[in-house]
């Protein structure tokens, strides 16, 4: 356990420690008569990299949406950066969401515009409306934008039309957008499930090694990647938390339990 001494969940919270990035207390989410999530208790501390594992339909995406505040919980409390999300007015939710980066398998890029505009989407929150619209009319690639693209190896593509890029390149555009947003917390919803193993590892490395330490919550289908890139692994089955372990303690027995159909 010594090599895991720096893992936050095992540290006693002291008075001056920063609040955990995310706290879930007995959180549940119900769709009509179906419980997508129930009784989730989870605290994620700053700097942790948490893998969420589970079969399809186990509630992984729902969990990420709850943390982001785009989906309200139907029971329990969600707290992000020390702020309770329940009943938070939109005007106060937005600044919070600005600090949370999201990347999903869908990528959510606008196909019809240049790459530059897509990555600028990450910092629209910091720009005034006038500046944002002006940047759309007169595209100007500043050093920050070029820098972000360079880190994903796409500096040449600044002025390409996004739809002309390949699938892997588009994925990296989405990551460059994330880098420009400079989030403190990254929620990644199966970011690599459609990629080959080498690409997947590359993407996760990019997510795990930003300029400053961030908190990462990533849902994955490959336990191997969780072991390599994350510090902690959380298992969901049928909307319930079934394990919460340091990533290197993931073993076949635990995983078999997770994916066994009940």
């Amino acid at each position: 356990m010594t090599e895991n001494a720096n893992l936050v969940p095992f540290r006693q919270a002291s008075g001056d420690a920063p609040p955990p990035a995310v706290v879930l207390r007995r959180v549940g989410r119900r769709f009509a008569s179906h419980d997508a999530l129930a009784d989730i208790d989870l605290a994620i501390h700053v700097g942790e990299r948490v893998a969420i594992l589970g079969a399809s339909g186990a509630g992984k995406s729902t969990l990420l949406s709850l943390i982001n505040g785009s989906l309200p919980a139907t029971s329990g409390d969600v707290e992000v950066f020390g702020t309770r999300l329940a009943g938070l007015p939109l005007a106060r939710l937005r600044p919070l969401q600005r600090r949370i980066g999201i990347i999903s398998q869908r990528l959510d890029l606008v196909d019809q515009v240049r790459v530059l505009h897509n990555i600028n989407g990450g910092r629209l929150g910091r720009w005034s409306s006038v500046r944002a619209l002006a940047a759309l009319a007169w595209p100007h690639a500043d050093t920050a934008a070029i820098d972000a693209l360079e880190r994903v190896g796409l500096a040449w593509a600044v002025h390409e039309r996004t739809e002309l890029l390949s699938g892997g390149e588009r994925q990296r555009v989405a990551i460059a957008r994330l880098l420009l947003q400079e989030p403190e917390l990254v929620l990644a919803d199966e970011p690599v499930s459609s990629l080959d193993p080498t690409r997947a590892a590359g993407i996760l490395e990019l997510l795990c090694a930003p300029a400053r330490p961030i908190t990462l919550v990533v849902s994955l289908h490959q336990p191997e990647l969780a072991r390599q890139h994350c510090t902690r692994a959380v298992g969901l089955r049928a909307g319930r938390l079934v394990f919460d372990l340091p990533a290197d303690r993931l073993d076949d027995r635990v995983l078999n339990d997770l994916y066994t159909l009940t």
């Binding site: 179906h34 785009s70 937005r94 600005r98 629209l124 957008r177 947003q181």
Partner: protein, 578 residues
């Protein structure tokens, strides 16, 4: 001439899907088919009996020689320089009406579309906007349920024979339709990117600029061009009112039976229409929407990669054309603000209230409504027949495994046949229905039948193209799979291609039927039958109080047909997705 975009239906939630499905028995299917056939046959028989009462004379033998004259003179169009100058002048006027009308319609459409779209308000429109929407929705529905021609007739009684009449008559109903379509287009853009921008903290306006407009622009643009194409057809039709352009010249020449001139003018209309038609089709194919079916199915096809040079040149051309049109035309807005116009508007509104029944009272009205419906039903029957006969030949060839074995001669023959079918459809939809009606009225006694025939020929030209475009998009892989396991070609086609084809045909027929009901006003104006004829007669006699009641009646019929059509189309769609 409107094209409606259906809103994308949310797929049913998982809850319903998880419920155990009941097995459908063969008997249920057979019963449903039988009911469907009855639903189809009963209105047809009813409409036919209404149009051709037993023992009534239909064909006007005295007028048949006129049709002969008309056809005989086709080979000798009037080509004297003097007349050609008149035609050129009229063409420019028609183009001007169409351009200015479309531009105003797009301005209305953009404003209305933004107001009505949920996406533009990030799914949470404020309460004031929601209240305003109710009002705007009502106004738009009323505006688009009244035909351009009727709008023109109303405006003529206020503005006189001012070219502004034509521009307004196009702008108002087209603007209302465009607002609806634009709102649905904006809402149909995938919400993911916009949501992602908002979640990353973008302010509302920049989020729209980055996430919504770039994605919607190709669709909005191609729809705008489609509207322009429709506006040219409408501008020709509007000539009937007397505000100028090719339509007016056509009616004058038809009524004075100058057949040679008629043919020259028909030629000009064809050229103009064909140019606009080909341009708009080319643009849509190249740019964003491959077929009109993409709209009515509620999803735009993915834009093909590459710069749409056509679109850019077209846009530049359009802006230049608009400026030229404004400068060249004597359209001025002064007519709108003159005290005389206000006085006349006041008097018109005064005259329109309280509503009064037409001469003949309720029975006359009670006759006109079913006449209108019967005319639309028969017109659709004609249009469907045209579509079934020409549609399959008008399609672009599909690459199939068997084509490689086809002989060159056969391929050439197919090509010739294809262009003939397409040209036929183009002629049918380019000649305004009023002209078809005047021609039909030469050989047939006034009534439902000539109107239905005229409307059917025109609608057939449009339906044929829409359906052929939709058919081109049908997935042929199931058929190829059947062929690959040794099924004879015709059998494979029947099993795999005919069902989706029939579905497309049914959907578009229902959708055009709604428009056809509205269009009966056009043929009514030249004396066919139904509400349109009553409207024209009462407008000509300045009985505006009666006009009010007729407008309300047309509105009711039009709304009823739209609601019924939507129900039926939804039912068809549900069956297609299950």
């Amino acid at each position: 001439m409107t094209l409606q975009i259906d809103a994308v239906r949310e797929p049913s939630t998982g809850v319903a899907a998880t419920q155990a499905r009941r097995a459908t028995t063969g008997r249920t299917v057979a019963t449903r088919r039988l009911i469907g056939l009855l639903l189809l046959a009963v209105p047809l028989v009813w409409a036919w009996q209404r149009a051709v009462p037993a023992g009534a004379d239909v064909v006007n033998r005295g007028g048949l020689f006129l049709v002969g004259d008309l056809l005989a003179s086709a080979l000798h169009p009037q080509l004297s320089p003097g007349f050609l100058a008149v035609v050129l002048d009229a063409t420019v006027v028609t183009l001007t009406f169409a351009a200015l009308g479309t531009a105003s319609a797009l301005a209305i459409g953009l404003a209305g579309g933004l107001l009505l779209s949920d996406a533009a308000w990030h799914q949470h429109p404020p309460a004031t906007v929601r209240a305003l929407r109710l009002l705007v929705r009502g106004v738009l529905v009323a505006a688009r349920s009244i035909h351009e021609l009727v709008w023109a007739l109303l405006f003529v009684s206020v503005l006189g024979l001012d070219p502004l009449v034509a521009v307004l008559a196009i702008a108002i109903p087209f603007g209302a339709q465009t607002a609806k379509v634009f709102a649905e287009t904006l809402d149909g853009v995938p919400a993911g990117p916009l949501q992602a921008l908002r979640n990353a903290g973008a302010r509302p306006l920049p989020a729209l600029g980055y996430g919504l407009f770039p994605a919607a622009a190709p669709l909005l643009l191609s729809y705008s061009f489609y509207r322009f194409e429709c506006a040219i057809r409408s501008a020709v039709v509007l000539g009937v009112v007397g505000v100028g352009g090719l339509g007016q010249e056509l009616v004058v020449s038809l009524q004075s039976r100058n057949w040679n001139e008629v043919w020259t003018l028909v030629g000009a209309v064809l050229l103009l229409s064909a140019a606009a038609d080909l341009w708009s089709t080319r643009l849509r194919r190249e740019h964003a929407v491959v077929t009109c079916s993409d709209w009515s199915a509620g999803h735009g096809s993915r834009q093909r990669p590459g710069r749409a040079r056509w679109a850019r040149w077209s846009a530049a051309l359009v802006v230049a054309g608009l400026i030229a049109a404004w400068l060249a035309s004597d359209v001025s807005l002064s007519g709108l603000t003159s005290p005389r116009t206000w006085e006349l508007t006041g008097r018109l509104l005064d005259d329109m209230w309280p509503p009064a029944l037409p001469p003949g009272g309720w029975p006359a009205l009670a006759e006109a409504v079913p006449d209108t419906i019967a005319m639309a039903i028969l017109a659709m029957a004609v249009a469907v027949a045209i579509t079934i006969v020409t549609g399959p030949w008008a399609m672009r060839p599909r690459r199939a495994a068997m084509d490689e074995h086809a002989q060159p001669v056969r391929r050439l023959l197919r090509g010739a046949l294809r262009w003939t079918a397409r040209a036929l459809l183009l002629v049918l939809r380019s000649v305004p229905p009023t002209v078809w009606a005047v021609i039909a009225l030469l050989g047939l006694f006034p009534g439902i039948l000539p109107g239905a025939l005229a409307l059917g020929l025109y609608t057939g030209g449009i339906l044929g193209r829409l359906v052929a475009e939709a058919w081109e998009s049908i997935d042929t892989r199931p058929r190829d799979a059947l062929r690959a396991i040794g099924t004879p070609g015709w059998l494979a086609a029947t099993a795999a291609v005919v069902p989706p084809s029939a579905h497309h045909l049914a959907t578009y027929t229902l959708y055009r039927f709604e428009i056809c009901i509205r269009d009966t006003a056009v043929v009514g104006v030249v004396g066919a039958a139904g509400l349109g004829r009553l409207l024209a007669e009462n407008l000509a006699a300045f009985r505006f109080s009666t006009v009010t009641i007729l407008l309300v009646a047309s509105f009711a019929v039009s709304i009823a047909s739209e609601l019924l059509g939507r129900r039926l189309r939804d039912a068809l769609r549900a069956r297609a997705t299950v």
